[in-house]
C-alpha cells in the first residue's frame, strides 16, 4: 500500500518491542501458569505485528502471524488447553516470526523449512480445536463480486431506521448524502411514525425514507452505504430495471447476513476490570531515531573539547582578565557535564531487553541437555547504553551456554554430590562505581583446572613445566586457540571461544573476570562502561607526550621515596607501599618516549587497577589534571595497539592516547631482561 513507506522504521522498531513482550510472557505458557491477561498480551503483540505487516504488504510474515494468532485466540478462549508443548511451539513460532520480520526489513527472504513445519504444527493445533471460527472468518473475507460498469439503473430503496439508530451515532442524513454521490437521488420522507412533540424522545429515530436512485453503481456499492446501519433498520433495495430484478434479490437484510454468525456476543465483561498489576507502562515517550541521538552525543563531545580549549586559552590571559573567564568556564563545564549525562540517559536502556531473551535459551538448552536449571534474573532495570546492550547479547548467550553445558552437572551427579537436583544460574546487573557490572554465576562443578591445564599444555599455550596458580589456570580459558570445535559439544561450541567473548567485551570498553571454586561453581563478572563516548580521565605527562588514564582505574598516585623502590629479579622494579609490593611499569619505556623522567622518585607513580588484573604502578613525569575526554576509536581510525584503548583530542588540539590499563602489561617491553615466556598470557601477573 503506497504512502506508508516512511513509517516502516517505526514499525520495525515496534515489532522488536512487541516481540520482547511476547518473549517476556511466553514462558508462562510453557509453564502452564499463564492467565487470561498473559495470553491476551501475547495475542495483542502478535496481532499488532500482523496488523502493521499487512499494511506494508509483508504477506508471508502476515500469513504466519495469522496462524500464530489463531492458536493464541484458541488458547485465550479456552478451546485449547495450556500445555508445555504448546508453549515451546509458540516460542519457536515466535522465533520464526522474528526471522520473518528481519527478512521483511532487510529484503532477504529467510528459509522456509522451519516455517513450513511450524505452520503445519499450528494448523494441526487449530484442527484439534474448534474450526468454526476459521471457517467463519474466511467466509467473511470472501471478496465482493466485482461489479461490471453498466448503464445507469434505477433502484427503489426503502430505508426505515429502527428507533435505536442514533445509539450508534449513525446519521441518516450522511447516508442519504453518500447515496447522492452515487447518482441521481430522489428522496421522499415518511413522517408517519413521528409522534407528538411531548412524546418525542430525541434519542430515537422516527423518520423513514423512500428513495429512488439512478446510478451506474452496483447493488453491492449501494448496500455498502448502508453497511453500518443494516442491523438497525428495515432496508429494501429493488432494482427497477429487468436485468437486476431477475437476480434473486434478498431484500431487507442482504448486508446484514454478513454479520449473522457473530450474533451471540455480549459474553465478555469490559476489560476495564483488568488487574492493574500488569507492568504495562511505557508512559509518556517519544520515539527518536538513534542517529539523531548520536549526533547529539557527538556534538556534546565536540563541545567538551571546545570548552577544554577555552580553559587552556584562559590560562594564557593575565589573571585580572583570565580569572573571570575561568570562573565562567567552570560553570559552563558543570552545565556541560549535566548536558552530557542527560544526553547519555537518552541512549540508556534497561538491560531487560537482553536479559529477557535468556530464559528461553536456558529452558531449551536444559531440556536438550537433560539438565534441570533455574535461571534467576536480577537488576533487569539497570540502564546501560543502547550500543552496549545490543552487543551484549552474544557474549551473554555464550556465557550462559557455557554455564549450562560445562558448569551445571546432570541432576544425578548433583544429587550424588549433595546438591539440589536443580542447578541455579544467576544473571544479574548492577551499577557499581560508574560502571555496570553483569554477573553470570552458576552453582555447578566449577572450572576443571586439571582439564584446562592439560588442554592448554596440549595446545602448547603454556610451557609444560609452568607452575600456575589456580587463578592463572582459570584465565587460560580466555586464551585464543584454547577452545576449538572438537573440544566442545554442539551446545556451547560454535567455533567461538571465550577469547572472542573477552574481545567482544573489551571492544565495549569492558573487562571480564572469572572466579571459580571446584564443586561450588563459577562466576563471570563483566564490567562495562555506562557509555562508550565520554570518559573521565587523568592527563599525565610522559616526556613531551600526554596520556590519559581512565579515572576509574586509578587507585592513588604518589611520589615515592627512594627506599620504597626495590628491584626484584624477574619482576623488574616494585614499589613497596603499606606492606604490599606493586610492580612498576615505566610508561616512557613501554611506549618508547624519549626525554622522560626515568627515576620514579623524580616523577609520579600512578597506581592503577582493573578488572581481572593486579595493581600496577605507572611511572609518569607529572599529573596534568583531571578532565573529560571524548573517546575516538583508535581501532577504527588506525588499528589496535596493545595497552591503548583509544585516542582523544586535547584542548590545544593535540592528540593524546587513552591507556587501556588492563592490557598495558601485555608485552613486557619495559622489562627486556625478563626471559620471554613460551606464550603470553594476557592479564596475568
Amino acid at each position: 500500500m503506497a504512502g506508508f513507506d516512511h513509517l516502516k522504521p517505526t514499525y520495525f522498531e515496534e515489532c522488536a518491542e512487541l516481540l520482547d513482550v511476547a518473549y517476556d510472557q511466553l514462558p508462562a505458557i510453557a509453564d502452564a501458569r499463564a492467565d487470561a491477561e498473559t495470553i491476551h498480551a501475547i495475542f495483542r503483540a502478535i496481532h499488532s505485528i500482523k496488523g502493521g505487516g499487512g499494511a506494508f504488504g509483508f504477506d508471508r510474515m502476515v500469513a504466519f502471524a495469522h496462524r500464530l494468532e489463531t492458536v493464541l485466540d484458541l488458547l485465550r478462549d479456552g478451546r485449547l488447553a495450556l500445555q508445555p508443548q504448546i508453549g515451546s511451539l509458540l516460542l519457536r513460532s515466535t522465533d520464526v516470526l522474528s526471522d520473518l520480520i528481519a527478512g521483511a526489513r532487510t529484503g532477504e527472504e529467510p528459509e522456509t523449512g522451519m516455517e513450513a513445519d511450524l505452520l503445519q504444527d499450528l494448523r494441526n493445533l487449530e484442527a484439534g480445536a474448534a474450526t468454526t471460527v476459521i471457517a467463519a472468518d474466511e467466509a467473511q473475507t470472501a471478496p465482493a463480486p466485482a461489479a461490471p460498469a453498466l448503464a445507469p439503473r434505477r433502484y427503489r430503496i426503502g430505508f426505515s431506521p429502527h428507533a435505536n439508530l442514533f445509539r450508534s451515532a449513525n446519521e441518516p442524513l450522511l447516508i442519504l448524502r453518500e447515496l447522492r454521490r452515487l447518482g441521481m437521488l430522489q428522496v421522499s420522507p415518511d413522517i408517519s411514525r413521528l409522534p407528538e412533540l411531548a412524546a418525542l424522545d430525541p434519542d430515537d429515530a422516527y423518520l423513514a425514507w423512500t428513495l429512488q436512485l439512478e446510478t451506474t453503481a452496483s447493488r453491492v456499492a449501494i448496500e455498502e452505504v448502508f453497511e453500518f446501519v443494516a442491523d438497525d433498520c428495515a432496508l429494501s433495495i429493488e432494482a427497477e430495471s429487468d436485468a437486476e430484478a431477475a437476480q434473486p434479490a434478498s431484500p431487507a437484510s442482504a448486508p446484514a447476513g454478513r454479520d449473522a454468525h457473530a450474533a451471540p456476543a455480549e459474553a465478555e465483561p469490559p476489560r476495564a476490570a483488568a488487574p492493574p498489576t500488569a507492568p504495562q507502562a511505557p508512559s509518556l515517550s517519544i520515539r527518536v531515531d538513534v542517529d539523531k541521538v548520536d549526533r547529539l552525543v557527538n556534538l556534546v563531545g565536540e563541545l567538551v573539547i571546545n570548552q577544554a580549549m577555552l580553559v587552556q586559552l584562559g590560562t594564557y590571559l593575565p589573571p585580572e582578565l583570565g580569572s573571570g573567564l575561568i570562573t565562567g568556564l567552570e560553570t559552563m563545564s558543570q552545565h556541560l557535564r549535566e548536558l552530557q549525562e542527560s544526553v547519555m540517559a537518552i541512549r540508556a536502556q534497561p538491560v531487560r531487553s537482553v536479559f529477557s531473551r535468556m530464559p528461553r535459551l536456558v529452558r531449551e538448552l536444559s531440556a536438550q541437555l537433560g539438565k534441570e536449571v533455574k535461571l534467576v534474573l536480577t537488576g533487569e532495570a539497570t540502564e546501560i547504553d543502547k550500543t552496549v546492550i545490543e552487543q551484549l547479547a552474544d557474549p551473554l548467550t555464550h556465557l550462559l551456554r557455557n554455564a549450562l553445558d560445562h558448569g551445571i552437572e546432570p541432576p544425578d551427579v548433583r544429587q550424588a554430590a549433595g546438591k539440589p537436583r536443580q542447578g541455579t544460574i544467576h544473571l544479574g546487573a548492577e551499577h557499581r562505581g560508574g560502571r555496570i557490572v553483569i554477573e553470570i554465576s552458576d552453582d555447578g562443578a566449577g572450572i576443571s583446572r586439571a582439564k584446562v591445564l592439560a588442554k592448554a599444555r596440549a595446545r602448547n599455550l603454556v610451557a609444560a613445566d609452568a607452575n600456575l596458580s589456580d587463578e592463572e589456570i582459570d584465565q587460560l580459558i580466555f586464551l585464543p586457540g584454547f577452545s576449538t570445535a572438537e573440544a566442545v559439544t554442539d551446545v556451547s561450541g560454535r567455533g567461538v571461544g571465550m577469547d572472542v567473548v573477552k574481545r567482544n567485551i573489551q571492544a565495549l570498553g569492558g573487562r571480564i573476570a572469572v572466579e571459580s571454586r571446584a564443586g561450588r561453581g563459577s562466576r563471570f563478572l563483566l564490567s562495562l562502561p555506562l557509555t562508550l563516548a565520554i570518559l573521565d580521565g587523568m592527563a599525565v605527562a610522559v616526556g613531551p607526550e600526554t596520556y590519559i588514564i581512565p579515572l576509574t582505574n586509578i587507585m592513588e598516585s604518589l611520589r615515592p621515596k627512594p627506599d620504597s623502590i626495590h628491584a626484584v629479579i624477574g619482576r623488574g622494579d616494585v614499589l613497596a607501599i603499606r606492606g604490599e609490593y606493586v610492580p612498576l611499569t615505566y610508561l616512557h619505556r613501554r611506549f618508547q618516549v624519549p626525554g622522560a623522567v626515568d627515576d620514579p622518585c623524580q616523577g609520579i607513580v600512578v597506581i592503577v587497577e582493573s578488572e581481572g588484573t593486579a595493581r600496577v604502578g605507572l611511572v609518569v613525569d607529572e599529573l596534568l589534571g583531571q578532565l573529560q575526554v571524548v573517546v575516538k576509536s583508535l581501532e577504527a581510525n588506525y588499528g589496535p595497539v596493545p595497552g591503548v584503548g583509544g585516542a582523544t583530542i586535547l584542548g590545544d588540539g593535540r592528540v593524546a592516547l587513552i591507556l587501556d590499563v588492563s592490557r598495558l602489561d601485555d608485552r613486557k617491553l619495559d622489562r627486556p631482561h625478563q626471559p620471554p615466556r613460551p606464550a603470553a598470557i594476557p592479564s596475568l601477573h
Partner: protein
C-alpha cells in the same frame, strides 16, 4: 475548522498510519494508546470522531465504546472500530456496544477517508 478525529490504538504504527492518512485528507488528529487514555483525553477535548482498535491493554475498544456511549457529552460521537477479519465476535460486541461502523485492518487509506466522511460528514 478541521474536524477532529481521535485515533486509539496501542500500536504506534497503526496510529501513525491513521494519523498520516487523515491529516493528509485535512483532518485534525489526536492519538491515544488505549481506551483509558482516550477517555482521559476526552474529558477536555472535543472530538468529531473516534477511531479505535479493539484489542488494547488497560481498556479495550469495546470498553471504550461503552464508556463513550454512556457519557452525555460524547454519546453522539461516531466511533469506527478498526478490526481484523479474525475477530468477528469482537466486532459484533463492539456493534452492540454502540460502534457506528468498522474498518478492517490493514486498511486502504482511501477507504478510511471515505468512511470517515461517511460517518462524520
Amino acid at each position: 475548522m478541521a474536524q477532529h478525529v481521535m485515533t486509539v490504538d496501542d500500536s504506534k504504527t497503526m496510529r501513525d498510519m491513521v494519523t498520516f492518512t487523515l491529516k493528509r485528507a485535512g483532518f485534525q488528529v489526536s492519538e491515544a494508546e488505549d481506551g483509558q487514555k482516550a477517555l482521559t483525553a476526552l474529558r477536555t477535548a472535543k472530538v468529531d470522531l473516534i477511531i479505535t482498535d479493539l484489542n488494547m491493554p488497560v481498556l479495550d475498544g469495546v470498553g471504550l465504546i461503552r464508556a463513550v456511549r454512556q457519557d452525555a457529552k460524547h454519546r453522539a460521537v461516531p466511533i469506527l472500530m478498526l478490526t481484523t477479519e479474525s475477530d468477528p465476535a469482537k466486532k459484533a460486541e463492539g456493534r452492540s456496544a454502540g460502534a457506528t461502523g468498522w474498518l478492517v485492518k490493514p486498511f486502504d487509506p482511501e477507504k478510511l477517508v471515505d468512511l470517515v466522511r461517511r460517518v462524520c460528514g
